[in-house]
């Protein structure tokens, strides 16, 4: 029932993007999120599109994973496209429907905005598709550490994130088991009257909560028992390593930014 959920979206294949340090990927994504907005005319959009296609190809992640990521924003893309198509009065009139004149400029703007939103979503999913969640949290912790002097509990936040991520598969397994146990007793999670479905949901959620609280308690006890006292002076099992390829990746992203800045209309 829950078997098709991919945790944290990570796709375990080997590719140049998978090998990069999570920090260089985080920096690149941040930079690209700004760079995407530099594009404002045909050639710069083409360059942007080429960059996205190149990165997707480099990631060696099957295309359907990106399609899955795009699906939730599909409506947003269509909506903004239509908005631009109907309400931009630039260029020449292509045709008229329902009293609206559709201008060539409108279609052009619509396509541009669609590319812009699409690129952002694809670039963001590239990060999660090619980076293990646990590496991602390590990366986050690295960037949050400077804010510690302002009282930001960087280590605790990262710990919370990694514990949550670590427990997602466990929780899913638990959920699957409880669902199946109740389904074996006749529970139907998809059909039925409001009242029976409410009871079915209760029979699923209550045991799941009970188990989660129990597990959290056990974990706290286990951490206490091993003398866990927070992040001060702790070393890491897996140390993030910044290599040449990471520097290159950042330079490439910077290059894309420069190219787009040159190509764009001022």
């Amino acid at each position: 029932m829950l078997q098709n959920i991919v945790i944290g979206q990570y796709v375990p294949v080997t590719s140049p993007l998978h090998r990069l340090d999570s920090r260089s990927k985080l920096i690149s994504l941040l930079a690209l999120a700004v760079i995407v907005f530099l594009a404002n005319e045909f050639w710069s959009y083409l360059a942007l599109l080429a960059t996205v296609v190149l990165f997707v190809a480099l990631s060696r992640v099957p295309l359907r994973f990106f399609v899955k990521g795009l699906f939730p924003v599909f409506i947003l893309i269509v909506f903004t496209f239509l908005l631009h198509a109907f309400f931009t009065n630039e260029g020449y009139v292509l045709f008229s429907i329902l009293g609206f004149s559709i201008y060539s400029g409108g279609i052009e703007q619509g396509v541009f905005i669609a590319i812009r939103i699409g690129s952002l979503v694809i670039l963001a999913s590239l990060l999660t598709l090619t980076t293990k969640p646990i590496d991602l949290t390590d990366g986050f912790e690295f960037f949050l550490r400077p804010f510690k002097r302002f009282g930001l509990p960087a280590h605790e936040m990262a710990l919370m994130m990694s514990i949550s991520i670590r427990l997602i598969p466990t929780l899913l397994l638990e959920a699957d088991r409880i669902m199946k146990a109740q389904a074996a007793r006749g529970a139907d999670f998809t059909k039925g009257t409001m009242k029976t479905r409410l009871e079915t949901m209760t029979a699923f959620i209550i045991p799941l909560f009970v188990r989660s609280f129990k597990r959290a308690e056990d974990m706290a006890t286990a951490m206490d028992a091993r003398g866990y006292r927070g992040g001060e002076g702790r070393t890491k099992l897996r140390v993030l390593q910044w290599r040449l390829q990471d520097t290159i990746a950042c330079i490439v992203v910077g290059g894309v930014g420069v190219v787009l800045a040159i190509l764009r209309d001022f």
């Binding site: 109740q182 074996a184 006749g186 139907d188």
Partner: protein
């Protein structure tokens, strides 16, 4: 009810990078009214096999026949539910499925959702609770106020409340103390005998399989590799060892005794039986000596 697997394969997460074939063209028949032990190491496909019986999973290819019901890849939801009315399933740590605010509410969940007569089911509760070693005074209590052992008994009573014709047990006694372990399996075996059930016990405890099962099926890498009566299965100790499985202690002891020149049959599956033979032999030795 007779359960037949015909060319059943099952693949998890088909079409993803995590694709995993759990069962591979399984052909297997579990005769009506037998108590079958399914053993195998972790990942051998035994829990997948068990979930195919009541349609929690539908076969990727092939079909599973359950009495007159046939389940296949495209079986309809309503049809699957009819099958579930016949099949009770006790998962590992069944107490994790408890949710009701009272024991009674929890036990009514099965009968209610499988569309059984609620009043009739309710009348059977006192007997059912007595069978699992509890009393009817427990009905108005919250299941979460009970002890771990009691919770498990309530959960099992909740499964038996639907009076299934087929009972699937997945390590029902895991985590209980030895006395509780024996008591629970004894009562499930009694229930099996009294009601003429077809029972499948999934376990990796060979002692349990030897003691309670009429038939044993050994799974390995998604296929049943050895099956038959417990004495026949445990005679193949070397082959079982190759699959990472043990034989019951009494079989190990009798084999060692045979090797040392004692006259012991290798069909003694229970420690009590073996002990009897050892005593007999020792007393003859003493008489002769």
């Amino acid at each position: 009810m007779r359960i037949t697997f015909r060319d059943v394969s099952y693949t998890y997460m088909i079409g993803s990078p995590f694709e995993k074939k759990a069962l591979d063209a399984v052909n297997l028949t579990l005769s009506s009214q037998t108590f079958t032990g399914v053993v195998g190491s972790t990942g051998s496909g035994k829990s997948t096999l068990m979930q195919l019986i009541n349609g929690l999973l539908l076969p990727t290819t092939g079909q599973v026949q359950n009495g007159d019901f046939i389940l296949h890849r495209k079986s309809k939801r309503k049809y699957v539910k009819q099958v579930r009315r016949q099949v009770g399933m006790v998962f590992q740590y069944p107490e994790h499925q408890l949710f009701g605010s009272t024991v009674e509410e929890d036990m009514l969940f099965g009968p209610k959702h499988l569309g059984l007569d609620i009043e009739k089911s309710r009348q059977r509760f006192p007997d059912l609770l007595e069978l699992v070693g509890l009393g009817e005074e427990i009905l108005p209590y919250s299941p979460f106020s009970l002890s771990g052992g009691q919770m498990r008994r309530v959960a099992i009573a909740g499964v038996l409340a639907t009076h299934p014709k087929v009972l699937i047990l997945d390590e029902p006694a895991a985590g209980l103390d030895p006395a509780g372990h024996r008591a629970l399996l004894d009562l499930l075996r009694d229930w099996h005998d009294q009601h003429g059930l077809t029972t499948v016990l999934v376990t990796h405890d060979m002692e349990d399989a030897a003691r309670y099962a009429d038939e044993i099926v050994v799974m390995d890498e998604g296929k049943p590799v050895i099956s038959g009566a417990p004495t026949d299965v445990f005679r193949q100790a070397d082959q079982l060892a190759g699959l990472g499985l043990d034989v019951p202690a009494s079989v190990r002891v009798s084999r060692a005794m045979q090797a040392a020149g004692w006259e012991v049959a290798d069909t003694l599956l229970e420690p009590e039986a073996l002990a009897g033979v050892v005593i007999d032999q020792l007393s003859t030795v003493r008489k002769e000596g």
